[in-house]
Amino acid sequence: MIVERRGVRIVDTFAEAFGMRAARVLITAQSPDWAGTAARSMTGFATSVIGCKVEAGIEAELASEETPDGRPGISVLLFAFDAEGLTRQLIDRIGQTTLTCPTTACFDGLPRAEERVIVGGALRHFGDRFQSSKFLDGQRFWRIPVMEGEFLVQEAFGVQKAIGGGNFLILGADQRSALAAAEAAVEAMRRVPGVILPFPGGIVRAGSKVGAKKYKNMIASTNDAYCPTLRGRDGVESLIPEGANSVLEIVVDGLDRAAIENALRVGIDAACRPGVVEITAGNYGGKLGKHHFHLHALVGSG
């Protein structure tokens, strides 16, 4: 069955995603700018679990009335393969990027999650026994003295099952068209709650395949089937159709299946615009993960 949206062909395939563990960190600060500074710092170098051990991104900006301490804030989502790895990343990243950032505080954004990991309870040691805690509504908060005043961080953060690696590929007639479509998709997807787009600007130009053809110790290597410069080369089964000359991928991590479906749906819809030849998805034949998002079902259900 051929499905098209505004003249863009949607391939009958599925995006293949995998199970992860996620945490939500609410960063507050004296101003939205400082909350944003801390959030961008915390989510830096967090594009792919393969190389960064965590995938992180900004979920939303929060108004003062939406945050625990009544100050402007940013909601950040972090994803890792397991709770242990996620805990390490939370401690390292909050400790290095938020504790050090003027006026900030950090709170758990998944209060209903059953699994809880100790973060502030580890960071408190920076206080060299000058730290103190407050206990409110069943939660402990650590007050760590710093030169500027105090850093406030919640002792435990919720961790829940999540899904990483939802994706779709935009095959454009040229680089400019593909990038414009990807930018439109990112703008739409960033309005969906419960998801992040962990790559730079939400867009991946270097999609990968599982393993490698030549280097056997590589976990991932370039997705040669979608590299336009490799079309026609021996050993490459190019999947780029006639008329397409540049491919960009959008990767989305979400707290649950519904959030990823919503994000993919609005993203694909926004990407269907002039200059785009085809929309497809990263399908690794079931080798990567058990969560499959069928593009036709997503587009049809919109």
Partner: protein, 270 residues
């Protein structure tokens, strides 16, 4: 809903720890009327002093001047007690959950050694609010006590956790031997506030006389007070915390113990 209306003032304090949702909720109307209360050493029935309406409810309403009724809501874990009038000593002592609301005044040992729940007093309270009983190591260990009016001596004595917020002035020794938790003094305090405190926070929205064993630290706006401000605002109690409105002068002590507690005194921006 169960409604008790006080018909006869006891001539001496009446001990009535059976006036609690935990005790009354599973009982029939007749069983509630027959519940024991103690007038001195004599066991009496609830209906010797109150008219009783309703049965089988976790919501208890007491109408009348219950100043001489002690131990109402002792150890309650759930439900709600509304007192339309005044209440006597030990109201909500040892409670672990539920809500008590009093439209008038109450006297000493309000919420003593409570570990959860909410008590709201629209009028004044006596001494030893949320305190430890004599010989006991810890006062309240969680929960919230809100008093719109004033309170007496030793508010929060040896408290370990939880919040006590008093709208009016309190008398001497607020936070005596405090081990944790937070006391908010909306109308200031008399003498020796925080004496021998080890940990915990006393927030005063008015200037108060301080012991010489408290050392001035800095003027700032603690972030954690934003959390408390939001929590208390939901309960109808406002505390300032934004730097555009002023700052808190922090004093640490009591150094005579030595303690690591703090007294935060609000100074509005001029």
């Amino acid at each position: 809903m169960i409604t008790l209306t006080l018909q006869e003032q006891p001539n001496v304090p009446l001990e009535a720890e059976s006036l609690s949702p935990d005790v009354m909720a599973p009982l029939s109307h007749d069983a509630i009327r027959a519940l024991p209360v103690y007038l001195g050493k004599r066991q009496k029935r609830v209906d010797d002093f109150f008219t009783v309406e309703g049965e089988g409810s976790e919501e208890l309403v007491i109408d009348g001047d219950a100043t001489k009724i002690k131990w109402i809501g002792r150890g309650m874990t759930r439900g709600r007690i509304t007192i339309n009038g005044h209440a006597g000593m030990h109201l909500g002592a040892y409670m672990t959950g539920g809500v008590i609301e009093v439209s008038g005044n109450t006297t000493d040992w309000l919420g003593a050694e409570m570990s959860g729940g909410l008590i709201r007093i629209r009028g004044d309270a006596g001494g030893q609010v949320g305190a430890a009983y004599r010989g006991s190591l810890s006062g309240m260990t969680d929960g919230t006590i809100l008093i719109d009016g004033s309170a007496g001596l030793e508010v929060g004595m040896r408290m370990k956790r939880g919040i006590i917020a008093v709208g009016g002035a309190v008398r001497d020794f607020a936070g005596l031997q405090m081990k944790g938790g937070t006391i908010v003094l909306g109308g200031g305090a008399e003498l020796r506030t925080g004496a021998w405190m080890i940990r915990g926070t006393i927030v005063s929205l008015k200037p108060i006389p301080l012991l010489p064993t408290f050392a001035p630290a800095c003027a700032y706006n603690p972030t954690f007070l934003g959390l408390y401000a939001r929590h208390l605002r939901g309960l109808g109690c406002d505390i300032p915390y934004e730097d555009r409105d002023g700052a808190y002068q922090r004093y640490t002590g009591d150094t005579s113990v030595p303690g690591r507690g703090e007294i935060l005194v609000w100074k509005p921006r001029e």
